[in-house]
């Protein structure tokens, strides 16, 4: 079942001679139960793609549909609610609020989204799985880059989203952790029927993807051959 669909997306930044065509006629769809990996070099438009997919910015042309609803037809409030309830964002930088401890990062979400989050036991298991259960009372500035990234992953999963949009979630992780995160994404997709979309230049994740896309100069294409090469 298609959860997220991008139709003929174009994105331009700037005007006149400084106008750049960052996304060039992109068509993309993600199914529940699958891990999608979008691989591309720096500046290729990965973050732009992901933020458009999650409704954080609007495409210059084209449409984004989530569960059959056009994002452009939703109000700002409805888009907020959608992000809170259905999407788990893992951003490339600044995922955590500096003045909240790890536990409080979850508490804050619970104050807004009161129901249908992970229960305490589930959260504890997740934190254990990610190797961060010892960090509950630490502030973000007391965490290493990799630890904050894993807390950010846990935070995104806390709301039991239908879709996970992750921007370089493994950039600061060593190979052992990358494997764990890859397995976690795979398990989430298979066991909880979530659509996982990861943009990255980290080829180490390819083993855990169902579909691998390449993005280059704003154009995207499915390239599952990459899997075989690396695998």
């Amino acid at each position: 079942m298609t959860t997220l669909q991008l139709n003929n997306i174009n994105k331009f930044f700037g005007t006149g001679t400084s106008r750049v065509h960052v996304l060039n006629n992109i068509n993309f769809s993600a199914q529940k139960g699958e891990v999608n990996l979008v691989i591309g070099p720096s500046g290729s438009g990965k973050s732009t793609f992901l933020t458009i997919a999650g409704g954080l910015q609007t495409p210059s042309t084209g449409s984004v549909e989530l569960d059959g609803n056009k994002l452009s037809s939703l109000s700002k409030k409805q888009r907020d609610a959608l992000r809170l309830n259905k999407i788990g964002f893992i951003l490339q930088a600044y995922n955590l609020i500096p003045y909240l401890t790890v536990t409080e990062q979850f508490k804050l979400v619970k104050k807004i989204k009161k129901e249908n989050n992970l229960d305490d036991q589930e959260l504890e298991n997740l934190m254990k799985q990610l190797g961060i259960s010892e960090l509950t009372n630490k502030y973000p500035n007391e965490l290493s880059g990799g630890q904050s990234q894993r807390v950010a992953i846990a935070r995104a999963l806390y709301t039991k989203p239908d879709i996970i949009l992750a921007d370089e979630p493994t950039a600061a992780l060593d190979s052992k952790r990358v494997i764990e995160v890859g397995k976690l994404f795979q398990a989430l997709a298979k066991e909880q029927n979530i659509a996982v979309i990861v943009v990255t230049h980290d080829l180490r994740l390819i083993d855990y993807a169902d579909n691998v896309y390449e993005i280059m100069d704003g154009q995207m294409r499915l390239n599952n051959d990459l899997k075989k090469k690396v695998g």
Binding site: L82, F89, L96, I97
Partner: protein, 353 residues
Amino acid sequence: MFLSLKEIKKEKLRYSLIVTMIVMICYLIFILTSLAMGLSSQNTDAIDSWNMKSIVLDKDSNTSLSQSLISKKQERKIKLSNKEAIIGQASVIAKKTGLTKESAQFLGINKNQFIAKDLVLTSGHKLNGNHQVIIDEKFKNDGYKLDDKLKFNSSKTNYKIVGFVKNAKLNISPVIYGNISDWQQIKNLNGQFIGSGIVSKNSNYTTNDSQLKTYSKSDFVSKLPGYSAQNSTFIFMIGFLMIISLIVIAVFLYILTIQKLQNYAVLRAQGIPARTLVNATISQSIILVISGLLIGTILTAVTALIIPNSVPMSFNIPILSSVGTGLVLTGIIGALIPIKLILNVDPVSVIGG
């Protein structure tokens, strides 16, 4: 509340500095206001203590008690009830050997009229004979005691202190209440004049003499020498102080909010509603301003206790509380100015490339 309190808890130094600044500003405003009001009220304390509504003065005296005289001849056209009292004013230098000289306002009163009857003494007794005076407590602070003898100007006559009154100030000088007959002697008037003016508790009181005119209390007070000029200086001084302080506080809270925008962008990306963020911002400003205000008030109260008696301070609760309310309101405004920024904060801006 959750966000605002957690942030204060984490950033203790930053927030205690901001609260300190607000405390200092409140303290400054409160102290200066109280000092100004204290000085200002020394012009009128005595007048206020009489509960008068109007005063009759010579119409050519420019509403000045010291320039007005009521003669024996005019007395026939004057009818006094128990709501009127004659006063005779004279500026004097009071002295007693060994003690500092005091510039004072001698007010001659009639012991059967309401001013003398209503006087509230802090010690001693009321006037019951000639050459007796009741004086302001300022004299006490300077070493004068009950039963001491005073001399006025160059006169040889001794006046005995029989009582003290609190807050008896007229035109910033301490008041000496004495007998109206003594006033005639001090002024060397040879019994031709009965007083300087007639004070009444009745706002419609008039006499039948065309040379005498009734003035309202506010007219009279505003013509006290220097009073209006002094008050407008105070009003401008405190007004500017308030406006500038409020702007400073608003700017600080504005900067504080601006610094939160990055975190807010993250929260917006996660789908946290803008309203939650606006509430957090406003509640935090209110917490900061109110704690600053409370500490400032406590400091002011402590200062009032330890400040020497010779420095007049007056705490006008309505004025001080409106200052406080003003501070809270500007705090909220300062936090709200960037609200558009909060509402439009672009999550993409923090996602990074």
